[in-house]
Each structure stands twice: as structure tokens, then as C-alpha cells.
């Protein structure tokens, strides 16, 4: 058994008494071999992160703690070590990479110093040796200009660069095992592809074992040697990645694999007669922030540059782009949450840009929005019924009738009508997003703008919500402007795709055409970056 780096045997992690289940991790046994990447894949609440934290003794005690089993590493049981002994292992023999690189780095320290600190704590290198090692590490993670990079503060780096620094810190002491907890989830698709590539390359070069925790099967297909699927704190299935992904045995794995949005483009249902509902002409939006004393200097960011877009009645366009591409700003301009600097937005031939808030109010009911974060988009102090009925009552519908309609809408989005009397915190993320959709539908809009409505949801829930949106679109005759960073999601939902980069639409056309032959280099790089592309395409 010399090739096993870490062995978890029958691990039990207890949750506080008032949780909805007793164990976060219930009897997990796993072996991580040297020189392999083991992916733990599961949905939120599956216990995958708790297991990762248990290895390094980072569980949020005293209520959450390991109550049984063993974690064997280099001949010792990590669960039985003292805090002092664990600290020696952390960072030195086992390193961790977190999801959010900004919070993992100290914002007040130069990144070079932060890497050096790790070396200072765990080795007796001289200062010159440490400096040299830091530069070597930065070169290893392919950051440009290492000499300048060590002098930078975290906020001066992009998300991808910060994650590279975190990886460099993890590698600093040549650990035997790296635990990576969703290290690419907060990153853009193209950056994610680069980071995944980097992790794999470094893992091969250094012969490290990697425990990679993720929710994304695409990422698994991209990086893993072996995979373990977790659900409700138990391992449902584990095996070689090709076996599990191509011939899943457990029902749960099958369902998860089936829920992965494929790269199969949606075909246009031809309807030449349909009129234009939303017309955006030469739209401009620039953000100005005052800096310096008395706002003497202004910094300008041109978020939306000269964009024109037509959306036909009962059709849908997906705006695809990475963070900072201006896709959300464009949506906020259309919805009237943001004023425009130039250009015209028309809905049904009526100009809606350049109006004051009061003038806009009677038109609000025609455009509604489904928000990204199901936890922030519902007022925690209002009942679900009141949340949904707000729009209709403001438009003159009586409260009783509005609540009656709310019940009907809740039934339509697949919730029980008695949800009207409950508060948002009683619902899961997916259910909340359904409530958000019901709220958007309540005023019978013509156009729904959905800003990343599924990016905060688990894969299986994601599919349900997308299916629901699709059904409702047909039955309500809605037009949909769908904003997403995920080409796979865009392809399943929309007949047309507009790719945005730095405030401009670089490519726009029917989904099928773009998928068949992307012309713009940026579009092609987005396609190449889709994690697990080959595997997903093979799903058909």
C-alpha cells in the first residue's frame, strides 16, 4: 500500500443537533494515491467540503466535528493529532487551495512576502534562498514578470492571477497532497481552463496527490484520474473517471450526468412573421467614478459600447460573456435600473430609455427580471405571497385576487400553493429561484430578463429551473433575454446567441450557426475553454 498518499476510513463528521441531518459525512472511505487527481463531485450539502476540511482539522467546531473513523497520512491518524502537530502538517505536507482567492490572500501584504512567509515558517532557508525560491515558484505557475509580480498587492492582480499565487503558495513546500476546494468556481471560463491546465501540469511535474472538490462534471472530465460521487455525506460511486462518466452505475450519478447541459444547440423554430419586441440601438453606457480630493479626477469605464440588438416577440437571445464584458450592465439598462448615456431602447415601438423613474413606472410591468442570487433576491421579512403579489397590487389588482393569482403561479412553477404563507428562508435555493420566476410572471410581462438565473444552483436543480423557464416561455408567449457566462446553458435555452467582450458584441447569430462554425477568435476561445468539452460533446 505504498502508493496511497492519504487514506480515509469510515469517516464520520457530526453536524449540530438542530441540523436537518445528523452527519455531514457518514462513513466515507477513500484512498488517494500518489501522483493522481481524485475528484470529489457532489451537489451542495453533499458533505464534500466538510470532508476536505476534516482532513486538515479545519472543521467549524465545536458543533461540527469528526466523531469516528480514521484519516491516515504518512502513517499517522490526522484525527488524533494535537493542534501543534496538525499545524506542522498543514501547508508543509498537505496544502489547501480555496475557492475565493481574494479572501485566501492577505490584502495588506505583497504577494511575494506571503509566499516567503510560508517558507520562513516551515524551513530554515536563508533570505536569499527564499527569494530565489519565490521567483522560481512564480515562474512555475506561469505568471508574467516574476520580479514585478512579487512586489504586487493582491488587489492589483486579476482573479486568475491571484489563484495562481495561491497555487504557488500551496506548492512552496512540495507537499505530498494538495486539497483544492472548488478552486475555479469563482473564475471565468477561459481563466478556469488555464488554471485547470496549470494544476494538472504541476501535479504531473511534482508528483503530488490532489484531492479536487468540485460540483462540475465538466471539470471532472477535464482533470480527474479517479472520481468519487458524494451525496448526503456518503460516497455513492467511485472509480476511474472514464468508467464513471461514460458508464455510471448508481442512479444518482446517472441523473447528475443527464443533467449536465450539453453542447447541443437549440434550433430556431422559424417564424418570419413575428415582430420585433425589443430594439436596442447604439447603446452606450460609461461609469464614472470620482477619485482624488473633491472628485477632481474621474475614472471612466466604458461598460457598454455602441450596442445594437433586436429581440423578436416570443424568441430568446442569450448574452454570453465573462465578468466585465458588460452583459449585466446592458441588462440593467434595458430593465431600467441604470440610465443610458447614448442610444435608444424601444419596447414595442415605445421608447423606454431616457425616462425618469416616475415616467418609467407604468412601463415596468412589461419587463421583469429573474435575478442571479436566490438568497438575496427575496426579502427575508416578507411572506412569499406578499412578495409575488407586490407587482399586481401596485398595478391596481386587489390583494385577495393578487394572492389568489400568486397561488396559481406557485402551482405553475412547481411549488405548493400554501407556500404563500411561508417565509423565503424555508425554501431551498432552487425553490427560491422558482419563487423569483413566479414573481416575474405575476405582472404578465412581455419580456423577461434573466441575469445568470441558474449559476448559483446545483446541476440537477439547474436543469429543472431551465426546463421550467422553457415551458413557461411557451405557455406565456414570453420573450427572453438570458444572460450567462456558460455557453452550455445558453445553448439549451436560447435560439440566438450574442457573444460579448469588453462592452461589445463580437459575434451574434443563431445558436446553431455559431456552434457549428464560430468565426470570432474570442468565441472560439470560449468554446475551447468549456470544461470537459470532449466528454460533453460525446453525450450528444
Amino acid at each position: 500500500m505504498t502508493d496511497v498518499a492519504l487514506s480515509i476510513q469510515d469517516l464520520q463528521v457530526a453536524l449540530p443537533a438542530w441540523s436537518d441531518r445528523q452527519r455531514a459525512v457518514a462513513g466515507v472511505s477513500l484512498d488517494i494515491r500518489r501522483e493522481e487527481i481524485l475528484c470529489i463531485v457532489g451537489e451542495s450539502g453533499s458533505g464534500k467540503s466538510m470532508m476536505g476540511k476534516a482532513i486538515l482539522g479545519l472543521l467549524p467546531g465545536p458543533h461540527v466535528r469528526a466523531v469516528g473513523g480514521q484519516i491516515l497520512f504518512e502513517g499517522r491518524d490526522l484525527l488524533k493529532l494535537s493542534a501543534e502537530e496538525l499545524r506542522a502538517i498543514r501547508g508543509c505536507r498537505i496544502a489547501m487551495i480555496f475557492q475565493e482567492p481574494m479572501t485566501a490572500l492577505n490584502p495588506l501584504m505583497r504577494v511575494g512576502q506571503q509566499i516567503e512567509e510560508v517558507l520562513e515558517l516551515h524551513t530554515d532557508m536563508t533570505q536569499a534562498q527564499r527569494r530565489a525560491r519565490v521567483l522560481e515558484l512564480i515562474r512555475d505557475v506561469h505568471l508574467p514578470e516574476p520580479e514585478r509580480m512579487v512586489q504586487s498587492y493582491p488587489h492589483q492582480l486579476s482573479g486568475g492571477q491571484r489563484q495562481r499565487i495561491v497555487i504557488a503558495m500551496a506548492l512552496a513546500l512540495e507537499p505530498a497532497l494538495i486539497i483544492a476546494d472548488e478552486p475555479t468556481t469563482a473564475l471565468d471560463v477561459t481563466t478556469q481552463a488555464q488554471i485547470l491546465h496549470l494544476i494538472k501540469e504541476l501535479q504531473r511535474a511534482h508528483g503530488t496527490a490532489v484531492l479536487f472538490i468540485t460540483h462540475d462534471f465538466g471539470v471532472v472530465a477535464e482533470i480527474a484520474d479517479r472520481v468519487a460521487v458524494m451525496r448526503h455525506g456518503e460516497v455513492v460511486e467511485q472509480g476511474r473517471v472514464s468508467d464513471v462518466l461514460e458508464a455510471p452505475e448508481a442512479d444518482y450519478t446517472k441523473a447528475l450526468v443527464a443533467a449536465v447541459p450539453g453542447l447541443k444547440p437549440r434550433v430556431i423554430e422559424p417564424d418570419a412573421k413575428s415582430k420585433v419586441l425589443l430594439r436596442v440601438t447604439n447603446l452606450e453606457k460609461t461609469y464614472r467614478t470620482s477619485t482624488g480630493w473633491f472628485g477632481a479626477k474621474t475614472r471612466e469605464v466604458q461598460a457598454v459600447k455602441n450596442i445594437s440588438l433586436d429581440l423578436k416577440r416570443e424568441s430568446s437571445i442569450a448574452l454570453v460573456g465573462e465578468s466585465g464584458s458588460g452583459k449585466s450592465t446592458l441588462a440593467r439598462c434595458i430593465i431600467g435600473l441604470e440610465s443610458v448615456d447614448g442610444g435608444v431602447i424601444e419596447l414595442d415601438g415605445e421608447r423606454i430609455s431616457g425616462r425618469t423613474r416616475a415616467e418609467l413606472r407604468p412601463l415596468r410591468k412589461h419587463i421583469q427580471m429573474v435575478f442571479q442570487d436566490p438568497y438575496a433576491s427575496l426579502n427575508p421579512r416578507q411572506r412569499v405571497g406578499d412578495i409575488i403579489a407586490l407587482g399586481p397590487t401596485l398595478n391596481g389588482v386587489s390583494r385577495e385576487q393578487a394572492l389568489e393569482e400568486a397561488r396559481e403561479l406557485l402551482r405553475l412553477v412547481g411549488l405548493k400553493p400554501d407556500a404563500v404563507d411561508r417565509y423565503p428562508h424555508e425554501f431551498s435555493g432552487g425553490q427560491r429561484q422558482r419563487i423569483g420566476i413566479a414573481r416575474a410572471l405575476a405582472v404578465k410581462p412581455k419580456l423577461i430578463v434573466a441575469d445568470e438565473p441558474v449559476s448559483a444552483l446545483d446541476v440537477s436543480v439547474q436543469k429543472q429551473v431551465l426546463d421550467l423557464l422553457n415551458d413557461l416561455r411557451k405557455s406565456f408567449g414570453l420573450s427572453l433575454l438570458f444572460i450567462t457566462h456558460d455557453l452550455r446553458v445558453a445553448a439549451t435555452v436560447c435560439e440566438e446567441i450574442a457573444i460579448m467582450q469588453r462592452g461589445e458584441i463580437v459575434e451574434h447569430g443563431p445558436t446553431a450557426d455559431i456552434f457549428a462554425a464560430p468565426t470570432h477568435p474570442y468565441t472560439r476561445s470560449l468554446f475551447d475553454a468549456v470544461p470537459g468539452r470532449d466528454w460533453i460533446s460525446s453525450l450528444g
Partner: protein
């Protein structure tokens, strides 16, 4: 996650604080029944030590200290609570408007708030009382005037975070007006820190009221704890009970309010509550 009340009441310090405050409340309400005499009436020999006849003794003029303490509870608590309510109301208004509208309105209101914050609050209260002449109403005005700025700042900060949440945008899209959004969507979500700060403010108000009364700037013809300490301070060596007893009452009350305030903070602040 347990609900609010069991978690709040299971905290022993909160429980002690509530018991003391409850006792004070009963005393304040039933003051006329508990001590049916005028607290300013001379009822016995001056400076009598605590005895079965006068449980807490008498002061330099022969007034019953027990009756003073009981009637003082009513005055002290009434002035502190009303002043705090006014401060919270005004502070919330200023903070909410500043946070919600931002920009120039925010600048003007916050500079106005800072103007009040930079003046040493106790000296400011003394000046106000000196200008307005001492009375119960003017005490309330003075205390409220010096204590609203922290409330305004707390509310402004909370409103700034809450208004960027998506449910507020959803209300804008539903066509709800600004005042309704502020009242129904934003403010209910700022209550937790407001309740905590407000409850601690009562303790400060009691201290300011006592200090003003001690200096002889309290309401005339109203018996209060601060006034009793002020009147008895020259006789500390001869009659210790004149200063000590109302002093202990103030100490315990301020302590009780702080315990409750901290308990509220522990319970309402999800980051501090145990997972």
C-alpha cells in the same frame, strides 16, 4: 437554528438583566401605590439611618429616601426611554434618507450629523439645558439631541448594504415608490443592529439624565436618582446611604440594559451565534 426567543432567554445574563428591568418597570408603574407620599414631603428626622420605620433612611431635610428612590425610578426611566425613542426615530429618518438617496443628500445629511457628533455630547447637553431652562421636556430634548448621531450612522450603513440587495431592485421593477421601498423593503431588514444600538442608548440616556440632575440641571420638582445623589453628595461621610443607594440603582440599571443589549446582539447577529 432555534428561533429568537428561546435562544435569547436561555442566556443567563439576559435573564438577570430582564428580571431587574422588569422589577424597575413594576416599581415605576405602581410608584403611587408603593409610596403613596410626596417624595419631597418631610416625614421625619433629618439624616435618619436606615431603620424599620424608614427602610432606606432619610435625607438632610428629613425626606424618605425609599419614596425618593421609587418615584425617581419613574422619572429616570420615563425620561431615558422617551429621549431614546425620539433619538432613534430621528436618527433612523436621517440615516435612512441619507443611505437610500446617496449623493448630495447623503453628503448634506452626513455633514449635519458630524456637526452634532463633533461637539462633546455632555457639554452640549448642559448648554442646551442652560439655554432651554431645566424641565422634564427640555431634558428629553437635550438627551435626544446629543444621542441621535450614532443611530443615524448605523442605519445609513445598513441601508447602504440592504439597498444593493436584489430584492430591492425587484421592488423597483415592480413599480413600488421610493418611500414604500424604504419603509417596507429596506428598513425591516435593518432592525437587528438598530434594536441593539437603541437598547444600549437607553443606558447612556440614564447616565446623562442622572449627571444633569446631579449638577442641578434636572427637572425641578421631579425626584430622580441623579438629583438624590446631587443633594446627598455633601453628606457622604455622615449619611452614606444618601449617595450610595441611588448610585447602586443607576449602576444596576445601566448594567442590566448593557447585558440585555449584548444578549440581543449575540442573538440577532448570525455571525456570532453558534453556527
Amino acid at each position: 437554528m432555534k428561533t429568537f426567543w428561546p435562544r435569547f432567554l436561555s442566556n443567563p445574563r439576559v435573564f438577570l438583566g430582564l428580571v431587574w428591568l422588569g422589577l424597575l418597570l413594576i416599581v415605576a408603574i405602581t410608584a403611587n401605590q408603593l409610596a403613596p407620599i410626596d417624595p419631597f414631603a418631610i416625614v421625619g428626622r433629618p439624616m435618619a439611618a436606615p431603620s424599620p420605620e424608614f427602610w432606606l433612611g432619610t435625607d438632610s431635610l428629613g425626606r424618605d429616601v425609599m419614596a425618593g428612590l421609587i418615584h425617581g425610578t419613574r422619572a429616570t426611566i420615563l425620561i431615558a426611554v422617551v429621549a431614546t425613542l425620539i433619538a432613534v426615530g430621528f436618527g433612523t429618518f436621517v440615516g435612512a434618507v441619507a443611505g437610500y438617496y446617496g449623493g448630495l443628500i447623503d453628503d448634506i445629511l452626513m455633514r449635519f450629523t458630524e456637526f452634532f457628533q463633533t461637539i462633546p455630547s455632555f457639554l452640549f447637553a448642559i448648554v442646551l439645558i442652560a439655554v432651554l431652562t431645566p424641565s422634564a421636556l427640555n431634558l428629553i430634548i437635550a438627551i435626544a439631541t446629543v444621542s441621535w448621531p450614532p443611530i443615524a450612522r448605523v442605519v445609513r450603513g445598513e441601508v447602504l448594504t440592504v439597498k444593493s440587495r436584489e430584492f430591492v431592485q425587484a421592488a423597483v421593477l415592480a413599480g413600488q415608490g421610493d418611500a414604500a421601498i424604504l419603509l417596507k423593503q429596506v428598513l425591516p431588514n435593518t432592525l437587528s443592529p438598530l434594536i441593539v444600538t437603541g437598547s444600549l442608548l437607553i443606558a447612556t440616556a440614564i447616565l446623562v439624565e442622572s449627571a444633569l440632575s446631579f449638577l442641578g440641571l434636572g427637572a425641578p420638582n421631579v425626584m430622580s436618582w441623579g438629583f438624590m445623589i446631587g443633594a446627598g453628595r455633601s453628606f457622604l461621610r455622615q449619611a452614606w446611604w444618601l449617595v450610595t443607594i441611588p448610585g447602586v440603582a443607576i449602576l444596576l440599571t445601566v448594567l442590566a440594559i448593557n447585558l440585555i443589549g449584548e444578549g440581543l446582539n449575540d442573538t440577532l447577529n448570525p455571525r456570532l451565534s453558534d453556527l
